[in-house]
């Protein structure tokens, strides 16, 4: 059971690390949370199911799922940036993302119904049986962990060493100043949102390969994503990356400890963990863990 829970923790943390990173970048650029992102993850995970149903490995669905995630997210960004230019405030943008989220949720239901009727699957699915094993462990364990760490490393080097990466940091701090210096902020923000969408598609495929998926689980995604974001720091993309690992491993620790003390039924309450963590973090480090560490180092 412990091994299974550890795989749970790693796959969950890695998946949410990919998601939360993009979620935080989006939050910094529009000044509000993108409620549609969790639904994009669920929507794209159905592409993995589709690939399995037609006899392909779910891993082959990654390019398609990523592309769909990227295009959807880019479209959301274009709508939000247009509204922002027209003077919409962050509350209006938030409501817009909620509306888009519900549209994607509806579309996911239609997609799920279509696949289940035409291919004889269930709306609730998990693809772990289609995964391969390596050293007695599921392939998704390695793929998700390596992908998230690799992405974090590449992005870190990109922001540190590359002129375009430095320009992204500049845009995140002050978009109009970056524009004054000749940075094509629109192009870079388009690219950034597209990449965050691709990561959502990737996360959707990984998630469905270990956990069960159904359209309604988007709300759990949302809770975990925002928790990782707040725990790490809403202005620190790499903070949310660590926040995701804290959330994932804390959930597993909660299950192990509470199951031993109270009983196995406690696993059903695992979603309490991210919320509890957020409460604690907001109390002791309101700006997130990374900011608290930086402050400690400065002092």
């Amino acid at each position: 059971m412990v091994v299974s829970l550890l795989i749970d923790a790693i796959v969950l943390s890695s998946t949410f690390a990919l998601l939360s990173f993009g979620f935080t970048l989006q939050f910094i650029t529009i000044g509000t949370i993108n409620l549609a992102q969790p639904n994009i993850v669920i929507f794209t995970s159905y592409f993995a199911l589709l690939f399995c149903m037609v006899g392909y490995s779910p891993y082959l669905s990654i390019p398609v799922a990523s592309l769909v995630g990227g295009i959807l997210t880019l479209s959301i960004w274009k709508i939000l940036s247009y509204m922002k230019k027209r003077g919409s405030d962050s509350n209006t943008l938030l409501i817009t993302t909620l509306a888009i989220s519900l549209i994607i949720y509806g579309s996911t239901n239609v997609f799920a119904d279509y696949i289940s009727r035409t291919m004889g699957t269930r709306r609730i699915f998990g693809l772990s049986i289609y995964d391969f094993n390596f050293l007695g462990m599921p392939g998704v364990l390695f793929f998700s962990l390596i992908s998230s760490i690799l992405f974090a490393l590449i992005f870190h080097l990109f922001l540190k060493k590359c002129k375009t990466g430095i320009a992204i940091k500049a845009i995140l701090e002050d978009q109009s100043l970056a524009e004054i210096h000749g940075v094509n902020t629109e192009l870079l923000l388009n690219a950034m949102w597209f990449i965050t969408g691709c990561l959502s598609g990737l996360a959707g495929v990984f998630y469905s390969m270990w956990f069960f998926v159904q359209p309604v689980v988007w709300i759990l995604f949302f809770v975990r994503m925002i928790s990782a974001c707040i725990i790490g720091g809403t202005t620190k993309p790499f903070g949310s990356f660590f926040g995701a690992f804290i959330v994932g491993f804390s959930e597993v620790l909660f299950i192990i400890v509470s199951s031993n003390i109270i009983g196995p039924g406690m696993a059903a309450y695992r979603s309490i963990v991210p919320v509890a963590l957020v409460c604690i973090i907001l109390f002791i480090a309101p700006k997130g863990i990374i900011e608290a560490i930086e402050k400690y180092r400065r002092e």
């Binding site: 430095i166 940091k169 524009e179 210096h181 000749g182």
Partner: protein, 235 residues
């Protein structure tokens, strides 16, 4: 070099500039002065495409730049140094210089950074320091260094000496003169009227978004009535 003809601009539905016409001669220093809220900063922002232009025309060396995007205008060799916040606080001095020279090819950027450090040797001491940890004077020096990096033909300064100690303000004034002597045209918005008259060749007085007066700075400083009326200066 830079010509504005009957420019009307503002922010959304609130108009700030009304039929502003202005001419900046190549190689000159042109100052824009006026009371608070007269639209001086908006004028510079309008030139750089940061406001809504309702009508009128802005030309740089004969080329229309009206309604062009700021990153496109930046490529034309204009640099805009805003009143505050012209540096990225969370980036280091080096990263700020890299962004300032973003439009340059990589090899040229490296060479230009070295050249700029030679002009401002003080920069060498805080290249890896985050801007938020630097003093006001150091930041202003870095801002000017950033402006210089692109080898601009025209620099728009928005109150470059505001909030600076007299020592640093004089140093900045000296640097502006040096830049001008290097052939760079300067359009300067300045609160300090005496300094503006002293440094510039031509001065425009902006009142309530309209050009109220224009002339040679050396003549304007002697204009007793104008100085008393607007600036409380005795000739």
């Amino acid at each position: 070099m830079l010509t504005l003809e009957n420019v009307n601009s503002g922010y959304g539905s609130s108009q700030v500039l009304f039929n502003v016409s202005l001419n900046v001669e190549k190689g000159s220093i042109t100052a824009v002065i006026g009371p608070n809220g007269s639209g001086k900063s908006t004028l510079l922002k309008t030139i750089f495409g940061l406001t809504d232009i309702y009508s009128g025309s802005i030309k740089l060396a004969g080329e229309e730049i009206t309604k062009k995007k700021p990153h496109e205008i930046a490529k034309k060799g204009i640099v805009y140094l805003s009143q505050v916040g012209n540096l990225f606080q969370n980036l280091t001095a080096r990263e700020n210089l890299i962004i300032a020279g973003y439009i340059l090819p990589k090899e040229k950027l490296e060479a230009r950074i070295k050249e700029v450090i030679q002009i401002f040797p003080l920069l060498k001491n805080f290249m890896e320091r985050q801007v938020s940890m630097m003093s006001g004077g150091e930041r202003q020096l870095l801002a000017i260094a950033c402006a210089l990096l692109k080898e601009p033909s025209l620099i728009l300064f928005d109150e470059p000496t505001t909030h600076l100690s007299p020592k640093f303000a004089d140093m900045i004034e000296e640097k502006i003169r040096e830049l001008n002597s290097m052939g760079i045209t300067v359009l300067l918005v300045e609160q300090d009227v005496k300094r503006a008259f002293r440094i510039s060749d031509t001065t425009y007085i902006l009142v309530a978004g309209r050009v109220y007066f224009q002339g040679k700075s050396s003549e304007l400083i002697k204009h007793e009535k104008l100085n008393k009326l607007f600036f409380g200066l005795e000739s």
